[in-house]
Amino acid sequence: MNNYEQLYKELEDIVAKLQSEEVDLDTSIELFKRGVEIKNQCLAILNNAQEEVVKILNDDDTLGDFDEA
């Protein structure tokens, strides 16, 4: 599971918790704060996405940079 996926799942969990009746107001506000944190982390992951994501598999099973030109 990658980081983005984990964060996304956590966000879904937060919604599920808030939809249940048992969460009190203080906890709700904490959950909301965590939700905003997650959103910012997701955005950070996107903004920092590397350009060199494309690799080529060499004959000896090592990875090299893929020449897209």
Binding site: V15, D24, F32, K39, L46, Q50, V54, K55, D61
Partner: protein, 424 residues
């Protein structure tokens, strides 16, 4: 007479070779017929004959041309060859030097395609229950295709645009030519052995049915079927369907579509996250509203508005409590009293019963005694006779003129004995 020219066999063959090879009709021509004696030499050269009902010609197809073929002919196939004449000077035999070979008409290929398709279908290769799900969030995509193709560029561009946080690994693969089927199969297996791929995109751009043929081969079908990594196939254009398209876990009409099926759209994900945050905010707000209403209710309570009321109410409460306690106490007392009374009455009854019982017994005894009471006998008219204050029971104990006393029920009578006689 001029001296007759004597030719050597070599000279004749060379001459013929020259004529044949220079002939403009024989330099490059198309010939159609049936394949026989097909052999593939280890060097990669194909040797076979092309024949019709009347004649046979030997053919050779050198490795450089043979490697371009995706579909190898087999015995009895109707083919068309692009060829030129070649004459072997040593033997004088001539053959065809084949530069290209195609199966005559798509009919034969289609028959092969259908035969393999039906066979694999019967074996369950296309069964939906064998399909694997494509993960929602892929980390690493393997792309099995030619590294120089437009297809690979389309896939890379699309994935970078949609989901730039995943890694793309291009696995350079021959997708056309006689070696393509083995290379495709090998690389599907290789990706599985290496592991760490969430999905494989296997395919190539458009081309003729022969160009796409490697994707109709059994070895590719087996590799795709046995792959533990989900496969998205994209072979040729939307109208081309190859065997691997039936086996793949998903089939994409184009390389771009394959990339779209493999990855989520991060822009959409971010919109979803935005929306989710809004939902969370609204849920929290709802909770706050509920709490606020509770608070309002509390604050608007009369005791908050007028503290004296609360004191009065407290006093009332206290006096109510006292009353209540008093009542409780009374209740307890009266209960005790009742109990006591009940016990007393019970005791009285018991005692009375006993007394009654004793009285009865006394009366009973008294009645018995009455029957023995001499006074009671006297009352029935009997009398007791005393002489010298002793009861007189023997007639011989008195004499005539003796004073005797008669005792009756209510008094004594003094009398004298007038006469006496003894009973017999």
């Amino acid at each position: 007479m001029a001296k007759e020219i004597v030719l050597t066999p070599a000279a004749v063959n060379k001459y013929l070779k020259n004529i044949l090879e220079q002939d403009k009709f024989l330099k490059y021509f198309t010939i159609g017929g049936e394949i026989s004696n097909f052999k593939r030499h280890s060097s990669g050269t194909l040797y076979f004959s092309i024949k019709d009902n009347e004649a046979t010609i030997s053919c050779a197809m050198w490795k450089n041309n043979a490697d371009k073929l995706t579909v190898l002919p087999k015995e009895g196939d109707q083919v068309e060859l692009k060829a030129s004449i070649y004459l072997n000077v040593k033997t004088g035999y001539y053959s065809l030097n084949v530069s290209d070979l195609s199966l005559a008409g798509a009919g034969d290929l289609y028959k092969r395609f259908l035969a393999l398709k039906n066979d694999l279908e019967k074996q369950g290769y296309f069964s939906p229950s064998n399909k694997q799900a494509i993960p929602s969030f892929v980390k690493r995509v393997g792309v099995i295709t030619s590294p120089t193709s437009a297809a690979v560029r389309d896939i890379i561009t699309t994935i970078k645009r949609r989901y730039p946080i995943c890694e793309i690994v291009v696995i350079p693969t021959l997708v056309q030519g006689v070696n393509a089927k083995d290379d495709i199969a090998k690389n599907i297996n290789r990706a599985n052995e290496l592991g760490d791929f969430d999905v494989l995109i296997v395919g190539r751009g458009g081309g003729s049915i022969e160009d796409l043929w490697a994707f109709n081969e059994l070895v590719v079908a087996n590799a795709a079927f046995n792959s533990k990594i989900p496969i998205i196939s994209s072979v040729g254009h939307e109208t081309d369907t190859t065997i691997i398209d039936y086996i793949a876990d998903m089939r994409a009409p184009t390389p771009t579509a394959a990339a779209e099926l493999a990855t989520p759209d991060i822009q959409k994900l971010n919109q979803d996250i935005d929306q989710t945050i809004k939902n969370i905010a609204s849920l929290v707000e709802q909770k706050m509203n509920v709490d606020k209403i509770k608070l309002d209710n509390l604050i608007s309570n009369q005791y908050f508005l007028n503290p004296i009321l609360k004191s009065i109410s407290n006093f009332d409460n206290l006096s109510n409590k006292l009353n209540q306690q008093a009542n409780n106490l009374n209740l307890k007392l009266s209960t005790s009293q009742n109990k006591l009374e009940n016990n007393l009455s019970l005791m009285t009854n018991l005692v009375n019963n006993k007394i009654n019982n004793q009285t009865y017994q006394v009366k009973h005894l008294a009645a018995g005694l009455d029957q023995l009471n001499p006074l009671a006998i006297l009352s029935r008219g009997y009398g007791v006779v005393y002489h010298d204050d002793k009861p007189l029971v023997d007639v011989n104990s008195v004499d005539v003129d003796d004073e005797i006393t008669l005792r009756v029920t209510n008094g004594n009578i003094k009398t004298r004995v007038i006469s006496k006689e003894t009973n017999e």
